[in-house]
Amino acid sequence: MLPIAAVVWESRANGAAGFWSVVSDSQAVSALELSLVCALIVAGINAATGTIIAWVLVRDDFRGKSLVNAIIDLPFALPTIVAGLTLIALYGPRSPVGIDVTDTRTAIVLALLFVTLPFVVRTVQPVLLELDTEMEEAARSLGAGEGTVFRRIVLPNILPGILSGVALAFARAVGEIGALILISGNLPFKTQVASVFIFLHIQSGDTAGASAIAVVLLAISFAVLLVIGAIRYFATRHEHAR
């Protein structure tokens, strides 16, 4: 709580008018928008791919499964600046696969997808492991096809796990800087995200301005996390019914 309080305190150094002029600046608004939209897209893609990866790791058997399982966590172990360098090597001007995405919004989404990949996988995996497969068998014996079994039985039970992972991935994506600072190109109104924007303000000695934008970013992120939390609460109402 203390660091967050300190940021809020710092942000009011220039008074309400100063605060407003910083955060309503069109470049700041654009950076905030880009950060939030990219984070939401990344969280959404993660919800699907993370669930699929978790499903394959839990339900399927294949050679090298434990290796894949171990590799999933690597993005966490890598300093994100290194992740950024790696992505430039792979998808930069000298790309061995012939794809150059540097200085584009695609680059931002790709970089964020890489660093947030483990979240949904790791929150869904234990829920899937715990999931009583007899529920699915019971549904099948009652006439439910595989699609219905997934939609009506599996999904409602793993949804809280997916949402937890989505919330973590979103929060991480909003705050990510290391993986983006090199590959995004930091072009104002195009590929400049809020975290990098804040970093530039700090470098130029404007800590109050940086804090003001950080506070807005925090407030919006908090609102998004609250919404995800509310959906999660609704999805688990059977667990706290007494």
């Binding site: 068998e137 019971a138 014996s141 009652l142 006439g143 096809g145 039970n157 019914a241």
Partner: protein, 328 residues
């Protein structure tokens, strides 16, 4: 709907779960698949349901081969030992599930669900979640859910195995009544011989993946096909000629032909029954059961020598002679 299981085999790796099992279940009957754990009885039930595929053999419902048919298309109700309750749905939604996915009109679903909830006496708990129910209530809900789609075959896999003894007895009486009221062929898997005898018309006793004997409960008790069947239905004493139940051993104070000598080690009064623990000539322990009156007549005392022989007409396994020397 009749069930015909022909020459079914199933392996899990090196483990032979079922070995050439053939069994016919008559329309409208209540059959118990009885056996110790690991005998293959649950696997057999799951094969009938289509939840497991046999490696060999076939399953037919009313003469129609369904071996390759998916569980969805078999028209059976399945009840699991651990309820398999849809924990994210209310009791009402659980029971309605089979009807809802068949897209029946809402009013019809509501009416049928209410009817079923009354049948299983859960109408007051319709809006609760499974986590708010006791084990017995959950299993009744699972039964209502299975019955909702009006299956012609109801399969129950150790349905009362996770419940305490009192609830178990209540539910099996209730299951029998339910079976008699509904137009359904029921197969129940159990490891409890008392439960099987209480509830079933016919019992198929399974051991090590093979059917040991099929028959009415009395047949299995009175005419066991082999030693395993005999021992499965309660304690037995091994005599030289074969196995005998303790209450089929007669004690007398006088020596008589065919009887063997034993010493009374302990006399235990169990109400109507009296258990007499004995030691045979080789010092091996065994026991007999007498009625209170029989014991009173003999006035047995510890250390006394008695003569033991199987009663006339006592149950034994085939080819059993009268034992001369008792060995436990």
């Amino acid at each position: 709907m009749s069930i015909e299981i022909r020459n079914v085999g199933k392996r899990f790796g090196d483990f032979v779960a079922l070995d050439d099992v053939t069994l016919e279940v008559e329309t409208g009957s209540l059959t118990a698949l009885l056996g110790p754990s690991g005998s293959g009885k649950s696997t057999l039930l799951r094969i009938v349901a289509g939840l497991e595929r046999p490696d060999a053999g076939s399953v037919a419902l009313d003469g129609e081969d369904v071996t390759a048919r998916a569980p969805q298309a078999r028209g059976i109700g399945f009840v699991f030992q651990h309820y398999a309750a849809f924990k994210h749905m209310t009791v009402r939604k659980n029971v309605a599930f089979g009807l809802e996915i068949r897209r029946r009109p809402k009013a019809e679903v509501a009416e049928r669900v209410d009817e079923l909830l009354h049948l299983v006496q859960l109408h007051g708990l319709a809006d609760r979640y499974p986590a708010q129910l006791s084990g017995g209530q959950r299993q009744r809900m699972a039964l209502a859910r299975a019955l909702a789609v009006e299956p012609s075959v109801l399969l129950l896999d150790e349905p009362f195995g996770a419940l305490d003894a009192r609830v178990r007895k209540e539910l099996r009486v209730w299951l029998r009544r339910l079976h008699d009221e509904q137009d359904v062929t029921t197969v129940i898997v159990t490891h409890d011989q008392e439960e099987a005898m209480d509830v079933a018309d016919r019992i198929a006793l399974i051991h090590e993946g093979r059917i040991q004997q099929i028959g009415e409960p009395r047949e299995l008790y009175d005419a066991p096909a082999n030693d395993f069947v005999m021992t499965f239905f309660g304690p037995v004493v091994r005599t030289e000629g074969g196995l005998v139940r303790p209450h089929d051993l007669e004690l007398s104070l006088d020596e008589r032909p065919g009887a063997s000598e034993a010493m009374v080690a302990r006399v235990v009064h169990l109400g109507f029954e009296v258990r007499v623990d004995l030691l045979d000539g080789n010092g091996r322990a065994f026991s007999t059961q007498l009625t209170r009156d029989e014991e009173a007549e003999l006035e047995l005392e510890r250390g006394q020598i008695v003569f033991v022989s199987p009663r006339n007409g006592s149950v034994g396994t085939p080819g059993l002679g009268v034992g001369e020397e008792l060995v436990q």
